[in-house]
């Protein structure tokens, strides 16, 4: 019984794509309604967002700058979700990664760029990965709920990094709450002069392909997916669930850390307190819209990146707060989380189908 078999995979990916696009559209329409209710002009607002995100080369560069960290946190959330884990601590892991990269990047060892840059990246990734591992360890060894642990560890990281940036790591005479500048040898190559667009974008694209490949083609990737979809079956199959959980949280933390690393070694050139407008949490939205497909994270991050870049212009031209972008993002997450809504729409649309066609369908099912 059940569904016809012969079109399962293709239909499945088509379905999820329709669902994601549908969620985005509904969110935008609802956003327009809310704008109307507050007396703003929705068309003007969306026009401004479009203009500010893809309206010019400069605008598009802004979009790509915003896209880069979102890709990393989107991959981070997605990776944990593959093992059935919910990583809500991406913001904290990102801050740890940023600080690690800032310290290693400012460290004057006289190293050439091809050693110093990878080293700074590595330190950042390890910092974030180990921070993620805390939650993985507590979950694996003591059954601690990772939702709560990761969420709470955000506060610990935020305050700890704030202390470091205010105190021990703040250079003397520095006005901003920030660390010492990263050396030239540890900075990402800028793709456009004097703009925040760097080679980190290529790393993000490469990583999404690698994550896809890792999950699909490697033994640990297989085990992660098995644990995520069937815990008891994985236990029965002799998969070490504790080890898989820890590995997943380490990698997820490392991916989130890359968002911070890309900001410090690329955009800002140092750790500046409050550099993140919530890239960590935005990863949830990015991952949701990509509906679990690492190869779609780039597209999804680009959409949210554009929204974010456009929203910055909104403030100036339409007197709409940039938080409007956050609202749209939240609405997308809510609608992606309602697959049943689209199921209803689909069944309604299907009704006029003829009886013989269905009978044939049923034959296939058996």
């Amino acid at each position: 019984m059940g569904k016809p078999l012969n079109r399962s995979k293709l239909a499945h990916s088509a379905n999820t794509a329709i669902q994601s696009v549908g969620a985005l559209l509904i969110a935008l329409i609802l956003g327009a309604v809310i704008l109307l209710l507050t007396g703003a002009n929705p068309l003007g607002a969306y026009g401004a967002i479009l203009k500010g995100s893809v309206g010019s080369v400069s605008a598009f560069i802004n979009t790509l700058v915003q896209t880069t960290p979102l890709m990393f946190t989107g991959l981070s959330y997605l990776f944990a979700a593959k093992a059935g884990l919910v990583n809500l601590g991406m913001e904290g892991q990102m801050l740890c990664g940023a600080m690690g990269a800032a310290v290693a990047g400012a460290w004057n060892l006289g190293l050439p760029k091809f050693i110093h840059l990878p080293l700074a990246i590595l330190v950042g990734v390890l910092a974030g990965g180990l921070y993620g591992l805390i939650a993985g360890l507590l979950k694996a060894k003591f059954g601690a709920n990772e939702y709560i642990v990761t969420l709470m560890l955000n506060y610990v990281a935020t305050l700890l990094m704030s202390y470091l940036a205010n105190g021990p790591l703040r250079p003397e005479g520095e006005i901003n709450v920030a660390t010492a500048p990263v050396l030239e040898t540890a900075q990402f190559t800028k793709l456009v002069k004097n703009r925040g667009l760097t080679a980190a974008l290529f790393i993000a694209v490469t990583l999404s392909v690698l994550v896809h490949f890792f999950l699909d083609r490697t033994k640990p990737g297989y085990e992660i997916r098995a644990v995520g979809r069937g815990r008891l079956a994985s236990e029965t199959a002799g998969i070490n669930i504790a080890r898989t959980t820890m590995l997943t949280m380490f990698i997820s933390g490392g991916l989130a850390a890359m968002a911070g690393v890309s900001m410090v070694l690329g955009v800002n050139g140092r750790y500046i307190e409050g550099f993140s407008p919530g890239y960590g949490f935005n990863g949830i939205a990015v991952s949701s819209l990509a509906s679990g497909n690492p190869l779609m994270v780039g597209v999804s991050a680009l959409i949210f990146g554009a929204l974010r870049a456009g929203a910055m212009v909104l403030n100036m031209t339409q007197r709409i707060r940039p938080e409007f972008a956050d609202m749209i993002q939240a609405l997308v997450v809510i609608f992606v989380a309602m697959p049943a809504l689209f199921q209803v729409v689909k069944t309604r649309a299907k009704k006029p189908e003829t009886e013989p066609a269905k009978a044939a369908e049923k034959k296939e099912a058996n």
Binding site: G2, K219, P220, L232, A237, N366
Partner: protein
């Protein structure tokens, strides 16, 4: 002239993707016991749920006692004198038998509910039909068989003239089945009409007056008098081809002992669950373990597959102690067909290919140190799909899109292809259609003939009796008897399953009687 109590004509039910009931007409005479036979998913239960007003129909007419009806909800059907006992009971464990029966009644006059009168009425039904049950007991303390009686009493109390029983014997021991059949006999003699939904053909033959057979949503044979039926005929109609279910073959000879269990004890929070289990399985032997579910089967399976560490005792594989977790057991060659297919056996959101390596993902047949050998896995998957006749469009189809029988074949293929020394097989054909059941039995027997040592744990007594070379009964965590197959009758095994002993055995043990 015959009078029909139920007349369903040209009933059709369309689910979004499946035509569950396809132009079916079904008639039952007043006062007869009618078996509605068919495979899982043939549409029997859907048809009866339509009759009971639980499911809407897309087309067709229903008449009860000659009067056209159109039920919108079960309440309408109950008012028209129809009762249905579902596979999953709808009882409140903290209430007594009588309270469960009359529940709902108090709504009619909540300020003046006459408890005494209600209980008397329930007692009256219990006496009239000869139910073995005490109206004052808490339902939570009752066995599954007794709970089923409560459901039947409930239907009768609400004035059912027509009673529909959905797979009533699926959860019962042979003795409880006899008990149920006595009650059904009594109902027949009191003029009630009974419909039994079943796929157990022997039982259909034993209790009913006539039978109707459904296949793939269609009525294949309607209202055939039971005198003109046989289990072979029914099976043929059900499946659409000849089926050999009764034939079997025993092992010619046993090899050396492969798996030995010595003094195995396990306990959980509530106390001991396995008490001093001693077993040995030889090469080329199927050791079958019968027993009512919940008597330690799950714990035994877990202890023999590394999922549970025993409190004391040993499991020896060719004389070597087996220790560690599931991975160590699998690597040493203990295959496992889990009792709960979709919880422990398969991951339904992964595809066939990914499920075919589950449990053997460490094996160098499927993976190197880091990378999966995708080409080898795909080739293996195609081979298994082909050899085990798994009905699927490709190795990339999701497990959730397969039927129960094909899902089970994925597990069987995965485990058997590894050529394990020992296989722990639990409930291999639960919820599987007859065709797949016949096939899985054949594969098990072939593997045994090839020299594997097999432990079969099944709640289906017919299955255990058919396949086992040696048969043991597990009762309250103990092996209460172990004998070569065919030395005990079905009734004798049933007695062991229910009470852990044979009637009169205690007397014999005292030595007072010869």
């Amino acid at each position: 002239m015959c009078q029909y109590d139920i007349e369903m004509t040209h009933i059709t039910k369309q689910y979004p993707l499946v035509l569950a009931v396809d132009d079916v007409s079904f008639r039952v005479r007043r006062g007869e016991v009618h078996a509605l036979v068919g495979e899982n998913g043939a549409g029997k239960t859907t048809l009866m749920k339509i009759l009971y007003g639980m499911t809407s129909k897309n087309g067709g007419e229903i008449a009860i006692g000659g009067k056209p009806v159109n039920f919108k909800k079960p309440g309408d059907a109950i008012a028209a004198g129809i009762g249905m006992v579902h596979q999953h009971f709808q009882l409140t464990p903290v209430l007594t038998v009588a309270e469960n029966v009359v529940v709902g009644e108090e709504r009619q006059s909540w300020w003046n509910f006459n408890r005494k009168k209600a209980i008397d009425a329930v007692d009256e039904i219990i006496r009239e039909y000869g139910f073995k049950i005490d109206a004052g007991r808490r339902v939570g303390d009752l066995s599954v068989g007794e709970q089923q009686r409560v459901e039947i009493i409930k239907a009768l109390y609400r004035g059912a003239q027509i009673l529909i029983l959905d797979e009533p014997t699926a959860v019962l021991t042979p003795q409880e089945v006899d008990e149920l059949f006595k009650v059904i006999d009594r109902m027949r003699s009191l003029g009630k009409t009974v419909v039994i939904i079943t796929h157990k053909l022997k039982e259909a033959m034993a209790i009913s007056d006539s039978a109707s057979v459904m296949r793939d949503g269609k009525m294949v044979k309607a209202g055939v008098p039971i005198a003109q039926c046989s289990t072979d005929l029914l099976a043929k109609w059900m499946v659409g081809r000849d089926i050999e279910l009764d034939s079997t073959r025993r092992a010619q000879q046993f090899g050396e002992t492969v798996l030995e269990v010595k003094g195995l004890c396990c306990r959980d929070r509530h106390g001991p669950v396995l008490k001093d289990i001693n077993l040995r399985i030889r090469a080329g032997e199927i050791l079958g373990i019968a027993g009512v579910e919940g008597n330690g089967q799950t714990e035994l399976i877990e202890a023999l597959t590394g999922l549970r560490t025993p409190e004391s005792g040993q499991v020896l594989l060719r004389g070597e102690p087996l220790t560690g977790g599931p991975l160590q057991f699998l690597q040493k060659g203990v295959g496992h067909v889990p009792e709960d297919r979709l919880a422990r056996g398969l991951i339904k959101d992964l595809n066939i290919r990914e499920n075919l390596i589950l449990g053997y993902q460490w094996s160098d047949r499927f993976a190197g140190r880091f990378f999966l050998k995708m080409n080898d896995i795909t080739a293996f998957s195609r081979k298994v799909i082909d050899e085990y006749r798994i009905k699927a469009p490709s190795e990339k189809a999701l497990i959730s899109a397969l039927s129960g029988g094909n899902q089970q074949k994925v597990i069987i293929g995965r485990v058997f292809e590894e050529n394990p020394q020992v296989i722990i097989v639990a409930q291999p054909t639960r919820g599987v259609d007859i065709g797949a059941m016949e096939y899985i039995h054949e594969v098990l027997l072939n593997l045994r003939d090839a020299g594997a040592a097999i432990l079969l744990i099944s709640a289906d007594l017919d299955e255990v009796r058919r396949l086992s070379d040696t048969l043991a009964v597990l009762y309250e965590g103990e092996i209460v008897t172990e004998t070569p197959a065919d030395t005990l009758s079905e009734q004798e095994i049933g007695m062991y399953m229910l009470s852990g002993k044979m009637d009169g055995e205690e007397v014999l043990a005292d030595g007072k009687t010869a």
